[in-house]
């Protein structure tokens, strides 16, 4: 059997996606009616009146809905998906505004028309009278609490969360040295190239609904629709078609549109589709990242971190549908590969009159990494030691695994690192970026008037959170192997990676394996694609299902070949006696044998009827503990998350005239356990790094004091083009996870996590100024340089 697990197999998805044959949301539903929304132009306002009459004469208008039209559970607030004991002031919005709007972009009126152009004509004619209220914009305003986003949530604080281990006060007091500083991280957003979208078909005769959504969780969207529209889940099918990127924003559910579009389809008795436009995505989906941090660190003469006390104010926007997952992750993943004796992180998660905040790739980790790694750089600076040396002295050592931090992770389970080799990772990074030779590089650059700097950052990422995923594997009579899992795909290459796993486990050709994801018709139980969990969770689930099918195939074939299953092997889809390939039968034939039939409708079925010659009259055609068909289903539910890790280094050059930052080198050492497909993992890292570069240097949501998002377009929200993303050198380290059968760890988010910390480190090194806010623009750097660099450096110490 040829090895296929671990190989850089070319992707199954690409044939259709490179020829225009993908099926993204807006490629479906030709002829469906189109929905469009009147959205709040105010950050905070009372809705006094909605006059739809001017729109009623529009040719092609089918329906106009406001909150008043909603009934039953649909008229109730949207679900608060992830409750938490610390989230005492959680609030969610309504599918359509119920008398008050709390951010620009909140949906107020839904219009359905024959096409989108007409729907938007009607939207433009509807007159909503608002009574504007003063908005709360930015963390400072939220903390000041002179105004409230929700009248019944005092101080704008939805949650006060504390994570701690050890006696921080005592350790800080006893520490030979202390430093204290504050920093700010701006908002960014997932910003997939395809926005959200929903398309619904109501079958009146079956009283059943089929919904396509550009989502990261079709099973949970189904559950939400069934609950809100009062349908049996068995009457709701939800399918995630090809999805044009997610990066977190599409895990939120149900979005108002995911309920309203199917609801309208049922009311109108016709297909309805809504496709988000780019401005809608900016002002009515979700953002992330915004935090203010105050950090106090105690350390000894050697630079060993003894205590870390972190205070965070996290901006979660106008509502908390996804709970406080982001600050929970920041506060638990902040520690990275290090082991202070005492740690405390206290978070206030605050309301503002801005777009909601939910996980964006990294999900709070880039902020935590920024806090920890900037601390390490400062300690190195204070002690006058090399930044890699300081880190080396603080790393968890390979013989300390499993390493228990004494905290509770985002899955509600103890934060215990399963495996890793951080010192080796650091050694590889220094080698890859030629850290030790950099002073020569710096001197050479300086000789020609150029300013360069080097920086690094490390992270540990909890991946593959539970509770579970499942897999189903079925061998058809043709020998085709159908694999399904409930979680969804947004470009991660699951059709390829899961096919590699099943081909390897079952012993069939890769080309014979066909994978379906995110389709409730094929697999009904799933959690979703987020938290770098798909490979770990569904990868192991399909492996377990394939093992079950293999065992069944060997049992059936052993009976037919009159030998023991232990004597058999499956090679390239053929079950054969080990050492005697002449005694063999195709897996396809085993599939036929597995299903005793009454009716001989074709040749395969004839071979399997209960009147076939090999039938044993003394045994039931299907044994008591057996079932027909060569298929298997299994679930993977890990005890805890598995922890991937890595380190990044960057060399930057800064133009002292323009303060433009150019990344000359970018090196990544990455450990996600065993690799299923190194080509795909590397692609994930590249994409993550690009988003890290965006977050470090370019991406920010510019809200004005009125809560208007001033840069809600690709003209003004600066995502990196090819000209901004450097060439990335990668090295892989493989420390298998002991927590799952395949030994794998997640890889999806890793690339983005240390970007801001790493580039801040390099820029500081180049210019000798303190970076305390990200992203950092040329204008910011210019101002920092204009002030006395020495003063900047000392004031923050």
């Amino acid at each position: 059997m040829t090895q296929i697990f671990g190989e850089p197999v070319l992707r199954r998805e690409d044939a259709r996606l490179t020829t225009g044959r993908g099926r993204y949301l807006d490629d479906l539903g030709h002829g469906a009616a189109a929905a469009a929304f009147v959205r709040s132009p105010h950050a905070h306002a009372l809705v006094r009146d909605i006059d739809v009459t001017p729109a009623l004469d529009v040719d092609g208008l089918l329906a106009v809905y406001t909150y008043e039209d909603l009934t039953g559970p649909l008229a109730e607030p949207l679900p608060l998906l992830i409750p938490h004991p610390a989230l005492t002031g959680g609030r969610t919005g309504y599918p359509l505004a119920n008398g008050v709007v709390r951010h620009v972009g909140e949906p107020v009126v839904m219009v359905v028309a024959t096409d989108r152009y007409v729907a938007e004509d009607a939207v433009g004619l509807i007159e909503v009278t608002y009574e504007p209220l003063p908005p709360v914009v930015g963390i400072e305003a939220a903390r000041a609490a002179e105004r409230l986003v929700h009248n019944d949530v005092p101080d704008n604080v939805a949650a006060h969360l504390v994570q701690d281990t050890g006696d921080v006060e005592a350790e800080l007091a006893a520490a030979p040295h202390r430093l204290r500083f504050a920093q700010t991280i701006e908002r960014s957003a997932s910003m997939p190239m395809e926005g959200r979208g929903v398309y619904a078909r109501w079958d009146a005769e079956d009283q059943a609904l089929r919904v396509y959504s550009s989502t990261q969780t079709s099973t949970s969207v189904r559950a939400a629709i069934a609950a809100k529209l009062q349908l049996s889940p068995g009457k709701v099918e939800v399918i995630a078609p090809d999805v044009g990127g997610g990066f977190g924003v599409k895990i939120v559910h149900p979005w108002p549109e995911e309920l309203l579009v199917p609801w309208a389809a049922r009311l109108l008795g016709r297909e309805v589709k809504w496709v988000e436009d780019r401005r809608e995505h900016f002002i009515s989906s979700a953002h992330e990242r915004g935090q203010v941090q105050e950090i106090t660190a105690g350390y000894d003469d050697e630079g060993v971190l003894l205590a870390l006390d972190v205070r965070i104010w996290h901006d979660h926007g106008a509502y908390t549908p996804y709970g406080i997952i982001v600050p929970i992750i920041t506060s638990t993943q902040l520690l990275g590969p290090y082991k202070p004796r005492a740690y405390r992180c206290a978070v206030d998660s605050v309301y503002t009159n801005t777009v909601i905040v939910t996980p964006y790739r990294g999900a709070g980790r880039p902020q935590g990494c920024f806090a920890m790694e900037r601390t390490m750089d400062r300690i190195a600076d204070e002690r006058g030691l090399d930044r890699t040396l300081i880190r080396e002295r603080n790393l968890i050592q390979p013989d300390e695994f499993p390493y228990d931090h004494g905290l509770t992770f985002q899955d509600g389970r103890p934060l215990i690192y399963d495996s890793g080799d951080y010192p080796e990772s650091l050694r590889l990074l220094r080698e890859l970026v030629e850290w030790d030779a950099f002073e020569t590089v710096r001197a050479e650059a300086a000789a020609t008037g150029r300013t360069v700097g080097i920086g690094m950052a490390a992270y540990v990422e909890g991946t593959g959170v539970g509770p579970y995923e499942g897999g189903h594997v079925q061998v058809e009579n043709s020998g085709r192997v159908l694999v399904s899992t409930g979680l969804t795909s947004q470009g991660q290459g699951h059709e390829t990676a899961f096919a590699q796993i099943v081909a390897q486990e079952l012993g069939v050709r890769f080309d014979d394996v066909h994978v379906t994801t995110g389709d409730t018709r094929r697999f009904g139980y799933a959690v979703g694609t987020f938290a770098s969990r798909a490979a770990v969770m569904s990868g192991n689930a399909v492996a377990l299902a394939a093992r079950a099918v293999r065992a069944k195939a060997l049992r059936i074939a052993a009976e037919a070949l009159e030998c023991s299953p232990d004597d058999l092997d499956i090679v390239d889809g053929t079950v054969q006696v080990k050492g005697d390939p002449s005694a063999a039968m195709a897996l396809a034939t085993v599939a036929v044998l597995s299903n005793p039939l009454r009716y001989a409708f074709d040749n395969d079925a004839r071979a399997a009827t209960q009147f076939a010659p090999r039938n044993d009259p003394d045994r039931a055609p299907v044994a008591e503990d057996d079932e027909p068909g060569l298929e298997g289903r299994d679930y993977f539910s890990p005890i805890r998350s598995t922890f991937a890790s890595g380190m990044h280094a960057a060399v930057v050059e800064i133009d002292r005239e323009t303060c433009e930052v150019k990344i000359l080198r970018y090196a990544v050492v990455h450990d996600c356990g065993r690799l299923i497909n190194p080509m795909i993992v590397e692609g994930q890292i590249h994409g993550g790094v690009a988003q890290g570069v965006g977050g470090a240097l370019y991406e920010v949501m510019h809200y004005d004091e009125h809560g208007q998002l001033l840069n809600a377009s690709f003209m003004d929200f600066l995502m990196p083009y090819a000209s901004e993303v450097p060439h990335i050198d990668t090295a892989h380290l493989e420390t298998p996870s002991p927590l799952n059968p395949l030994g794998i760890k997640g890889a999806g988010e890793a690339g983005v996590i240390p970007g801001s910390a790493c580039l801040a480190s390099a820029i500081e090194d180049a210019l000798g100024v303190r970076i305390t806010a990200m992203p950092v623009s040329p204008s910011d750097l210019y101002e920092l340089l204009a002030s006395d660099p020495e003063r900047t450096r000392k004031a923050s110490a």
Partner: protein, 162 residues
């Protein structure tokens, strides 16, 4: 309000069409919704991301910035028209698969059309020129490194085939 409509005659991927469209219909919408060529994707509707790029008389244009009625008489190539008549993938399509130059694939058609046109002008780009070729298209998944590689590889495939 009544829609003002006009007939448009054009050739798309070698096939002639004569259709009547509202005057305000974008070329991208006409291709996608009237002609069913959904391979052309719309990522921003303001001409920045490049996902909707098609070839208009051989030159790359943003189809979301053009009204369909303004391209009357034109010859248009979309991603569906890049492969040879016998189905052989265009060199850039093959290179994208070989180099893992796509992930979600949503921006991909715009890259493919852009690169196909650029390789006509520069059949042997180096890596820096390759970065320049794709410099006006946004991709949120790949970090561009493998796309750059694919541009260079596509040129090599074209030469191998010649």
């Amino acid at each position: 309000m009544t829609e003002q409509v006009r007939p448009v005659t054009l050739v798309v991927n070698g096939t002639g069409h004569r259709i009547t469209v509202p005057v305000r219909r974008l070329l991208s919408d006409m291709l996608r919704h009237d002609l069913g060529l959904t391979g052309t994707h719309v990522g921003c509707e303001h001409g920045v991301c490049g996902a909707c790029t098609v070839l208009l008389d051989g030159r790359p244009v943003r189809s979301c910035l053009l009204f369909a009625v303004t391209v009357d008489g034109a010859d248009i190539t979309t991603v569906e028209g890049l492969a040879a008549a016998d189905g052989t993938p265009h060199p850039v399509q093959q290179a994208f698969t070989e180099c893992h130059a796509l992930q979600c694939g949503f921006c991909t058609p715009g890259f493919l059309t852009t690169i196909a046109a650029a390789l006509q002008d520069n059949p042997d780009p180096d890596e820096e020129q390759a970065r320049g070729i794709i410099g006006g298209n946004l991709c949120r998944c790949t970090g561009y490194q493998n796309i750059v590689k694919a541009v260079v590889r596509a040129a090599a495939i074209a030469r191998e085939r010649a």
